[in-house]
Amino acid sequence: MEPGFHTLHDFMLFTKGAVYYLMGGMLLGLLGFWLYLTGRDEDKMIK
């Protein structure tokens, strides 16, 4: 359901708030992706 925005402040509060949550998820997601990407690099180091 689309929230009703009556002022620019309402809109910014909603979108900014959503982005703050998103940023947390992104940081975790990128960390997980990096770990997946480099997960087998150690094999090469051992050789």
Binding site: E2, F11, F14, T15, K16, A18, V19, L22, M23, M26, G29, L30, F33, W34, Y36, L37, T38, G39, R40
Partner: protein, 411 residues
Amino acid sequence: MTTEHPEQTASPKIKLTPFNVIVGVILAVGAFVTILRFTKGLAGVTNLSDNNPWGIWISFDLLCGVALAAGGYTTSAACYVFGLKRFHSAVRPAILTAFLGYALVVFALHYDVGRPWRLPYPFFVQSGPTSVLFEVGLCVFLYLITLFIEWVPSALEWLGIRKPRDLIIKMTLGLTIFGVILSTMHQSSLGALYLIAPSKLHPLWYSPYIPLYFFVSSIAAGLSMVIFESTLSHRYLHDKMDATYLAEHDDVTYGFAKGAAMVLAAYFLIKVVGLTMDNNWHYLASGYGLWFLVEMLGFVALPAFLYAMGVREKRLTLIRWTAVLAVLGIILNRFNVSLVAFNWQLPPAERYFPSWMEIAISIFIVTIGLLIFRFIASRMPIFYEHPEFKEHEPPELHEHPTKPHPQTFGH
């Protein structure tokens, strides 16, 4: 692998191979349409209109051309600025690709703007420094010169001219930094051009962050293009490569794939942030929304994951095919921004679709680029180090000692 001298392999007669026939037809049609363009004007060969003044020549030749030529600054920055010397053998092919890419962008621009003798006007006669387009033009102008200087040592080595070549080699770091600055500016400014049209560009593609999108995606385009170009070169110009290039090739592919995977992942996430900041989620439940999802999931998220899988499982073939997917994704994005999602509110009858002659000119220009690349790469030291010049390069450029490839001397 052949062991003949490159010049000995060049036949004076042009053989009627399928490749040569197709190229001949493309060049003939291109020359014909070129004459039409400069005698009949834009209306004679294009479907451009007041509503759609920028067509496929801007979308493909310019926007895609500049993005896909980003391999030059990404590779040289990785090698000389970030000190990843294991990518050194990839620098010259990437610089050549970028130089030809930008040269052809400027060449293609002549078809759009006409009157080639007026090309210097925006800089020297009537400059408009408050325009984003001015910045793009100035950056492309300066970066093309920079790329030319970066490419020149290959030609000088081929010709056996030492002094100016040594002087330019000493300028490598400065040229690289200048090139990175210019690329940062104009790659993003190409996106900034669309900031002026929030009502014309569909909200899913329009964003205040569009300059950032263009810049970040250009890095992924550049890295993917280096992988794609090296795959083709490996297949068709294998005999021009020396031991160092061949030894470093796999490492370059894995390294660039790893970089491209992270950049594509970051690009995907900042696109999601942009979507959230503008609260445009509801547009996803429309036809344009589905098309946006195809672009984002099929040509950004999927290549990011496939690159990561290829790096993780050391699957070169997967990485090479993923590079094709990523390059197509960048082309799709530039087409979406400049054509598909542009003027999206116009009735279908007023939408733009390129004429066959516009498409023919774009194919003509790509073909010219391929021919020049092949001409240079099969004669000059692009995929190998010239044995007479190795000891004169700064030692920091040579982490890997090489054996000269006996059949690849340029002269």
